[in-house]
Symmetry: D2
Subunit: 352 residues, 4 copies
């Protein structure tokens, strides 16, 4: 039997943490040896996530005092809050430079230190690592990820927007100044902290936009779209919250360049993703539902023509906790470790 990678999950008491554990428990080459959680340190995992009661897992511990060198982890998944992450990973990689890290926070996604400071309001605490980090959207940056030590896992909203848009931008097929992204996310995207606005009774049977004109994921979109376009791109992006647990649906309004029709855009995407195991482009005119990717690492993309000539409506659906976070992270791990890319993350969607 092949050896297993020794794995640590930092921040295991949140939803991206539990999703990592859910999938890693069934990953043939993974062995979970460390789970951290600050407030729940000392508790068994089953107390914070009862679905794991039947399984053997390490007890939750605090990060402070861990001996990274002695732990000699092969892979660390970091699902810590913004800013904390920078300090922890700086220490970790100083003590255990051989450990590979997939970071699920926003801390290493922006390669430009000025952009980081502008959007997050302070200087970065680990600017050298910020430079080293590779942006971990596999379908776009696969080659660089294979060689990386530190991967910055993309944001959930940005994955849903980049997967359909980046190939079109690269192909110079759409007008860059009129992109509107209307995104809707399930509540798990807001995390597990106890806030009044996230109570069941506040959320159920209702729908709303938030952060209108201000959401930080726009910084990531600016970076990646400008990179793809080789010129600055600024998009309009509005996030909304759905009364459901999982799923992001992004409805994207674009105009074809130089006579490109919606069909042309569909063809570009179909070709680009023809061999990708985790991106599926639907037949022209069909559009996806979040329910059909629930619990899976699949992204589905649909393209339809607007009734206004030259405009297209592109819709993507993914599970924000899987392809939008933990599934993508394991996909990144598989690349870094040289495992088959789909290993441990090939579950079929759970519907209904």
């Amino acid at each position: 039997m092949a050896t297993k990678a020794k794995i640590g999950v930092l921040g295991a008491s949140g939803y991206t943490g539990s999703e990592l554990v859910r999938m890693l428990l069934r990953h043939p080459r993974a062995e979970i040896v460390l789970l951290t959680a600050e407030r729940s340190a000392g508790k068994p995992m089953r107390e914070v996530f009862p679905q794991f009661s039947p399984y053997e897992l390490p007890t939750l511990v605090a990060i402070e005092g861990l001996d990274w060198k002695a732990l000699a982890l092969d892979v660390v998944f970091c699902a810590l809050p913004h800013a904390t992450t920078q300090k922890v990973l700086k220490d970790l990689l100083a003590a255990a430079p051989e450990t590979k890290v997939v970071d699920l926070s926003a801390d290493f996604r922006l390669s430009d230190t000025a952009a980081y400071a502008k959007w997050y309001g302070h200087e970065h605490h680990a600017p050298e690592l910020q430079k080293e980090a590779v942006y971990g959207l596999v379908e776009i940056h696969r080659r660089d990820i294979r060689k990386a030590r530190l991967v910055a896992n993309p944001g959930c909203y940005t994955s849903g927007a980049q997967l359909p848009l980046t190939p079109l931008i690269k192909a110079k097929a759409i007008d860059l100044d009129e992109i509107v992204i209307d995104a809707k996310s399930g509540m798990t995207g807001a995390g597990r902290s106890a806030k009044e606005a996230m109570l069941f009774s506040e959320v159920s049977e209702g729908f709303n936009a938030y952060g209108v004109g201000k959401h930080r994921h726009m910084a990531e979109l600016d970076q990646e779209f400008s990179l793809a376009a080789e010129r600055p791109v600024t998009v309009t992006f509005t996030p909304h919250l759905l009364p459901q647990n999982r799923g992001i649906l992004s409805t994207i309004y674009v105009r074809g360049r130089r006579g490109r029709t919606a069909q042309d855009l569909h063809e570009i995407l179909s070709k680009f993703y023809a061999k990708e195991p985790f991106v599926h482009v639907l037949p022209f005119g069909e559009t996806p539902h979040t329910r059909h990717v629930r619990g899976s690492n699949m992204t589905m993309i649909g393209v339809a023509a607007d009734r206004i000539e030259g405009r297209a409506i592109i819709i993507s659906a993914l599970d924000n906790l899987v392809k939008g976070a933990s599934g993508q992270a394991i996909q990144n791990m598989n690349l870094i470790m040289g495992y088959p890319e789909t290993m441990g993350i090939d579950q079929v969607a759970l519907f209904p």
Copy 2:
């Protein structure tokens, strides 16, 4: 005590029908004397809607064979399916020309017979009535409605788009060629017919767009926006289905004309609706939730600036069954009958 209007509800076994009954049961000037339902004819209302068990209501009857003249109804609310409506109302108004009608179907919303034929695929069966009908969005057409005999109650999506956009179009404050309306509706908007795609297990925990580029409500938007603009207007409109019963949220992307900023647009709307009892414009930068208008006839509108200069994001929320259908219909009745406009429809939203 003031006399009560004798009221008939045609199509009382659907959701707009039950909403009419819910509100009319508590309307001081309304007496429900006729309820029709074809397949459920002969049943008591409590069998099709058990919430009415404690109340006295007429037994459901079929329309065929009704003597409209003898019934001498003051007001008829017509919540019948498309096309059936035309025939029924033609007969009804021929037999009882004094009866006032508020029609909740799409049959009389388009004043242009050619537009009707194009979108609905057949000639209109009652073209004279089509001409007579007044489009019943009270805040825009109040004066005409007061004098009407036949009011075409607007569509739920179109109300959510017109209330924020029509005043801006009239004020020539926005670019007419770049309007994008991304609308999300609760499931009651899809009606009560038993279809697989509307089963709880198909809908819950999921979200999707539908009718992309094709929805018939666009015909109504074209008509009303072109009328307001005094030139043809064609908007981009995408409807989605939310896993919740009630509520439409419309996220609308516009560009200000001649230097108009988002704040300018907010000011135009605030003034326009300052005295309206059923439209509430939130402070600049705040945006509404569907849950805060649930069960009420209120529409809330918010305006925020996009980060791209000159662009604004406008969001409206209403309850598709109340302001988007039956509440609006009673508001129309109140105008026609000379009752106080808010009578019977002033319930405060039910949240949570």
Copy 3:
């Protein structure tokens, strides 16, 4: 026009508070002059409950420093947390002995000081008021409530169990030693405090029991059932949490005494409630849904035969925030103030 009662709502930032405000805003004899909330003191009501944005309401204030005598309130609704209530009401009634109080907490429901101390772990802070307080389940204690100054509004679960059971116990129609009450409540019953277990993502798409064998509402059931039976009664009671906002359904298993059949029990309940405006007994064999009482002050009761001879299954449904809390409280106010009992609380259920 009739004069209006000057009303204060203590604890207006919780769900029972907002429900009181929702209904009092449309109560013809009520004028809200005071709204309190400790942490939100100084904020307008619209900030804690945006559905009230379109209405004029007093700004939220803290209780400390209020001059109860000068305020000269006619009625105070107290929706404060357990224990706090005792102290506040003691002060209030000392300063303003003419004010009538309807208390929605559990503090004055138990008339026995020993029972109180046992279930709540400390001596009562206002034992004289505890004696004075009248238990406010209108259909059972209407006569006493009319004369009361301080009414203890019943618990939501206990209302759902008492309305079907108390008449049967009084009629000596059921075996007192084998009553099983399996109750299921919507999430608003758990209040509005920000707890992880109440987050949307923790609750949605799931169901569980809680407080098994321990829930404090059993103290109230013991008291009221023993009173009705004129001997001690102890029932089995298990509460559960439903993934929905509103509604309590209680499934109650009983055995008829002395040959009483399920039909006999149905007849007793039908007669008992024949003239009650807020309790509706369904035809024999039909059982109620929580959705059909949503937002209304109605309780529906159904009785069916078990297949085991002599046993019956009785099911009641009510809205925990209305008949289980704020609607019941206004019903109590109406009695105390001599208003028509249904005034301001006769809304028809909101379904769907």
Copy 4:
């Protein structure tokens, strides 16, 4: 690589069908070669279940005209409606006697032809097969299942009641005449047929009992409990419908025999299930949530003491589509085929 079993799924357009396909697609020893669906015959599976769009699957075909002998299937899962099943399986096993069958309908669960005729209202069409069929609750009948050709997969409600109760009945630890089972199921338990009562808007935000005193699953409970008790047992059973897709929670009220306490019952269950991979008994006093078994083949059981001495409250949770149907069915296949029992059905629950 080990050979794969050639598998057919009859009735693949329903929810138990799609769950079989979901798990079989990732089962190392399964190859799906036949999918049937009557009304959808000729369609690709992706049209009836879009979550399968990215996977290769056989096109749906009708059953009529299939050559069972030529198909030479190793295993058939039959997810057809009641009664149809008997005829289809009679033909199938006559033509292809080597094929193993796991039947998910109720048709072969009752071994007594008289009981069958009584509950289902007609004579059984395949009485010899009825005799041959083995009742497929693995944890109770594992030995017999290994040798079976035709397994009758148990009902979802009955699995939730039998797993906690059968070991206690066998141990003669509980009173057999006072068992009350209050069961609550997610909506997928009601199937996928388009009925008004199952529409999202009819179900969401509400809860109700149904089939009170009459549900057919009681026939199965009678059979299995009487078998375990070696005397006739009749339980009280009430099913309810939850506004969620998946999950059955059964709250069971029992009285210990001969001084058996709740702790004693907990100990019996803990021992009985100590080595079972798919039944997990929680620590005494803890009770399970349906959400923590969602999408998995796990059943969780909790035992708590009632406050009435000698009585216990036992709660079980399972996913009605997995352990309550398709997961159990594959567990049965694994036994029949000599595969490891957990193969292909060891997914960890999807929460949140």
